[in-house]
């Protein structure tokens, strides 16, 4: 990838669209600090601080959250205690006690329509694609990030699940002024979560930038890969 000059502000939603293999997910991983995606050239900044050389956890602690395209399973890692540990990492001042936290968690899980008993299992262990995506959202709510990358959160989701997730993220944007980078092939999710900026990338380069009108164009004509 080269020549990607993008800027995302607090409370802003940016959609990054492009065909398969255009480098969208690579960008997501590079931003989150995945060791497989080395950054040879260029720099990444987070709230004006350079993060190019930081480890994934350092970036996370600054307030960057990556909702993975295919979240892995960690068998035996109990979800509730895992989420409590995340919570303790991020919340210092107005921290709820464990009982309050658990109640809050059950409440949020219910709003996301996560099946009863799912939180008693190992992290993503035996979960369906949709359940995994909802778990990503739950982790996001717990860690209260400043900026979120949703890497194809819409893949493998049915319409209902997509709507629930999109609206929950929208609420975070509105209430907590979270900045969101949505990486997707499809415009579907943008019906619920409008993007302020739309960026089309192709073959690792920015092809076009604009607003929601670009989405309309893609819906009509596709990504014009033939060109």
């Amino acid at each position: 990838m080269a020549d990607i000059g993008l800027e995302l502000n607090a409370g802003e939603v940016m959609a990054l669209m492009g065909p398969n293999g255009s480098g969208k997910s690579s960008l997501a991983y590079a931003l989150a600090g995945h060791p497989k995606y080395a950054v040879d050239k260029g720099k990444m900044f987070f709230d004006k601080k350079e993060i190019t050389e930081l480890t994934p956890n350092e970036r996370a602690m600054m307030g960057l959250f990556l909702a993975n395209q295919a979240p892995v399973a960690i068998p035996g890692l109990g979800i509730k205690s895992f989420l409590w540990q995340i919570y303790k990492k991020f919340e210092n001042e107005k921290r709820m006690d464990l009982v309050k936290f658990r109640n809050w968690l059950d409440d949020e899980a219910e709003k996301l329509q996560l099946k009863n008993g799912l939180l008693e299992r190992g992290l993503n262990d035996g979960f369906s694609g949709g359940e995994r995506k909802k778990m990503e959202v739950l982790q996001m709510l717990v860690s209260k990030p400043k900026y979120i990358i949703l890497d194809e959160i819409d893949s493998g989701l049915d319409v209902d699940a997509l709507k629930i997730i999109a609206l929950r993220v929208k609420k975070m944007v509105k209430e907590d002024k979270v900045g969101v980078l949505i990486i997707t092939h499809y415009s579907r999710i943008l019906n619920y979560l409008k993007a302020d900026k739309v960026v089309i990338i192709e073959k690792g380069k920015v092809k076009e930038m604009g607003g929601m009108e670009l989405v309309k164009k893609i819906e009509d004509k596709g990504f014009e890969e033939k060109k």
Binding site: H34, N57, R59, V72, G76, L77, F82, S143
Partner: protein, 475 residues
């Protein structure tokens, strides 16, 4: 004082002070009674005399000693060539203080105690500075409850004096003195250990040793434990400690015998975390009658070399045996562990689940045997062994043996070896966790199926200990 309380130190001390033994016991002023290094018939006799044993036990010891001399060292399993039998104290009885100071305890062990949040008094005990923790006062009322139900729970030495017939009904019968070289050694020089008898139909609702987490009697070098669970009774016995036990004694060779009568159930949980200079060579075996259930839950963290294969002999129809084990092999360690299930009767069932973790150049081996004798119709067994290797220097092996002499049986064996995936680490790190925290999460998840079987305080400490090991493994 309850008769189940540990034998009082004072009375023993007085007894020894009055008896001038000439076999190298140091003077009472030093508060320490110690046989000379090395082993010979005289020392075996002396141990028996010190314990005022009857002829029967003395002869048992002497015969065992002869067998020990005759038996060859095992040529399979871990490397035991560096054990120097002549450089070991076979009988050490401390009084109030072994004369070791808190300052002598290695720093890394102290640090671990601190990180586990263990109180100072307990730390000193675990570090071998204090010989005995004052458990009698605290646990007296609990002991009384057990006694009221007819349960016998006392030290092995005390049991031999008070209940000789009961002891001899099974002592040395489940693990015969000639079973293997180390069982013979234990039979010759055993000292300490527990005796438990649970009468017919009595169910002990709390794990027994849970009250006695701190109890010297169970931490000797050559302890001998016998548990008899009578018909329809149930007991859960827990021994050991998740915190590292610091000892300068380099050989720990215990024997545990368990008799599970018809319809009875016994669960025996061990967590072992000896310091890494110790050879831990233990023979554990249970005999299970009709429809009885035996469960071994075994965790091995410490020691230099562990060789331990808890066994179940399913002698009665419909008997069930279960062996759950977890081993962590770090730098310089070899955990050679597993289990044995021997099916003698119809409709017997068994399950072995073994989980091992190798890191920092450690080595873990699963060694197991399933035997199904002629006549064990419809016997069923399942073996699952999963190994997790954390780095390229570490190693894991599996040595399963199946001896099947009956055709109408079912036997399943599953084995997996895995490494912690980069994707798992990245995923957890992107949630804000340090690399070693992420590793510990994956590892603790891996052993969770076993850990959840442990009493609460043990499982919590085990998880924290593994986290500490992970911290050490980074950088």
């Amino acid at each position: 004082m309850s008769r189940f309380a540990p034998i009082k130190e004072e009375s023993k001390k007085e007894k020894w002070e009055k008896s001038p033994y000439e076999y190298g016991f140091s003077s009472p002023e030093k508060h320490m009674f110690k046989a000379k290094r090395g082993l010979n018939e005289e020392i075996v006799r002396m141990i028996s005399t010190m314990k005022s044993e009857e002829e029967k036990m003395r002869n048992f010891r002497l015969e065992s000693y002869k067998i020990f001399l005759e038996k060859k060292m095992p040529t399979w399993g871990a490397d035991l060539s560096t054990i120097d039998f002549n450089n070991i104290f076979y009988y050490v009885k401390a009084t109030k203080s072994e004369g070791k100071k808190w300052g002598d305890v290695p720093k890394e062990i102290k640090d671990t105690y601190d990180k586990l949040g263990i109180p100072q008094a307990e730390k000193e005990y675990l570090g071998g500075v204090k010989a005995q923790y004052e458990s009698e006062v605290i646990y007296g009322s609990l002991l009384k409850k057990l006694r009221d139900k007819g349960i016998i729970f006392c030290g092995m030495d005390e049991a031999l004096v008070k209940y000789p017939d009961l002891v001899w009904s099974h002592f040395g019968k489940i693990v015969p003195k000639g079973d293997n070289k180390f069982a013979a050694l234990n039979s010759a020089v055993w000292s300490g250990g527990s005796f438990i008898y649970v009468p017919k139909g009595v169910k002990v609702d709390l794990p027994l040793q849970a009250y006695f987490r701190i109890n010297t009697q169970n931490m000797g070098q050559f302890e001998r434990t016998l548990i008899i669970v009578d018909e329809g009774a149930f007991v859960h016995y827990v021994e050991g400690c998740t915190a590292p036990i610091y000892t300068t004694d380099s050989l720990h060779s215990a024997v545990v015998e368990i008799w599970v009568a018809k319809n009875a159930r016994c669960r025996y949980t061990t967590i072992q975390n000896w310091s890494t200079n110790v050879y831990n060579l233990v023979t554990k075996r249970a005999w299970v009658e009709e429809k009885g259930i035996m469960e071994w839950v075994d965790g091995n963290l410490g020691s230099k070399i562990t060789m331990k294969y808890p066994s179940v002999i399913l002698a009665g129809k419909g008997a069930h045996g279960e062996i759950l084990s977890v081993a962590v092999a770090g730098k310089g360690q070899h955990q050679d562990a597993g289990g044995k299930c021997i099916h003698l009767a119809e409709n017997t069932t068994s399950r072995i689940i073994s989980k091992s973790i190798s890191l920092n150049g450690g080595r873990s081996s699963y060694r197991g045997m399933i035997q199904m004798n002629k006549g064990a119709k419809n016997a069923r067994s399942k073996v699952v062994c999963d190994a997790l290797i954390l780095d390229n220097e570490s190693r894991s092996d599996t040595y399963p043996v199946n001896k099947i002499m009956e055709s109408e049986v079912t036997l399943e064996h599953e084995a997996t070896v895995s490494k912690i995936g980069e994707e798992q680490l990245f995923y957890l790190m992107s949630r804000g966790f340090e690399e070693h925290e992420a590793e510990a999460m994956v590892v603790n998840g891996f052993i969770e199926p076993i850990v959840k079987e442990l009493p609460m305080e043990y499982s919590v400490e085990l998880n924290r200990l593994i986290s500490l090991q992970m911290e050490g493994s980074v950088g």
